[in-house]
């Protein structure tokens, strides 16, 4: 057995030193390579998951906001229609009232004008009659003076 070991150059001290070498390598790689790299992978995976969740939440909120916006626009347009309709009604009412009042005023003016015209005509006639009477009287006077000569 010893001869066999010697033929392969085996030596207990060398075996132990090589075991120590391997142990050192294992310890260093474990502490400074595997642990940090695997931790980094896990950390990044957590970050990505968080990012995806955030994006999903943002999408949901966007969808909510869209829905809300649509609702708002719909109610606003309904309100606007109502406002326009009522405004039109009031405008029509006012227009008809204004035209009614204008009609009334026109009627009144016309009536006044007619009354005044009547009055003027009457006065004119009255003054015409007086004038005629006076002219007739003057003519009669003249005739009477002429015949007395």
């Amino acid at each position: 057995m010893n001869q066999l070991f010697a033929a392969f150059g085996l030596d207990v001290k060398l075996l132990l030193i090589q075991a120590l070498n391997f142990a050192i390598l294992l310890a260093v790689l474990w502490r400074f390579l595997y642990t940090p790299v695997l931790k980094m992978i896990d950390e990044r995976r957590a970050k990505v998951a968080e990012g995806v969740q955030k994006a999903e939440a943002a999408d949901r909120r966007l969808a909510d906001a869209n829905e809300e916006g649509k609702g708002l626009v719909a109610s606003a347009s309904k309100d606007a229609e109502g406002i326009v309709a009522s405004a039109r009604n009031r405008a029509e009412e006012q227009a008809s009232e204004i035209s009614k009042r204008a009609q009334e005023r026109a009627d009144q003016l016309l009536a006044d004008a007619q009354a005044r015209a009547e009055e003027a005509k009457r006065q004119a006639l009255a003054s015409g009659e007086k004038e005629i009477a006076r002219a007739a009287m003057l003519a009669a006077e003249k005739i009477l003076k002429g015949s007395s000569h």
């Binding site: 010697a6 033929a7 392969f8 150059g9 085996l10 030596d11 001290k13 060398l14 075996l15 030193i17 090589q18 075991a19 070498n21 391997f22 050192i24 390598l25 294992l26 260093v28 790689l29 474990w30 400074f32 390579l33 595997y34 940090p36 790299v37 695997l38 980094m40 992978i41 950390e43 990044r44 970050k47």
Partner: protein
Amino acid sequence: MEGGTAHQSGIHVALAAERIGSFFGIPLTNTLVTTWLIVGVIVILTLVLSNRISLIPGRFQTLLEMLFEFVYNYVVETLGSREMANKFFPLLTTIFIFVLCLNWFEFLPGVESILYHGEPLFRGVNTDLTTPLVLAFVSFFVIEITGIATIGVYKYGSKFLVNPFKSPIGAMIGVIELIGEFVRLVSLSFRLFGNILAGSVIIAVATYFAPYGGPGILSLFEVFIGFLQAAVFALLTLFFIKLAIEEPHGAEVH
């Protein structure tokens, strides 16, 4: 005859690593020096890299993370839980990285021609049985301890020690399985050692017979073998761990 002389002068195959000195009674072999160099380089690279790991990765970090995730997921799939994977991923990956670096080191141009007192200063570490055997022992102890710790001494023992009066065939199979556990020490270490040594011998032969082109093509192939053996060592350890933590088959029969 000519081959004989060639063998003496040109091609030299040594199973044992060349000794280039001693240090407080410890024989310093060229494979040990090589291992120190490689471990040192990996440690320094790791410490440099470790400071640069950031949440927003660079290209190299992305590549590293992709490889790690791939291996980690494979270990999780095989062992069945993240908890087990967290325990064994570092060991398996270290075996792979270590063996891969050791195997590939000798393909760095010129490293094997640096001489120190007439002997090469560096030598492919797995062309010496020491390191494969150490790794096989590490793998063996991890497998056995994990098996005992996970399913308990009694259940784990019942895989190998079956009452021969109840089930003679079961007892025989148990003994064979027990031998099989220890044979793994030999099979794991010699698979790695044999493949890598054979590779370097083949390249040495090719260098002698077809110095232009031959070694280059064979080196490419041996680079692949080096990767393959590193993966095989780590994967076999993984599968043996998987086997060790499984409940014994006889349990549900009885």
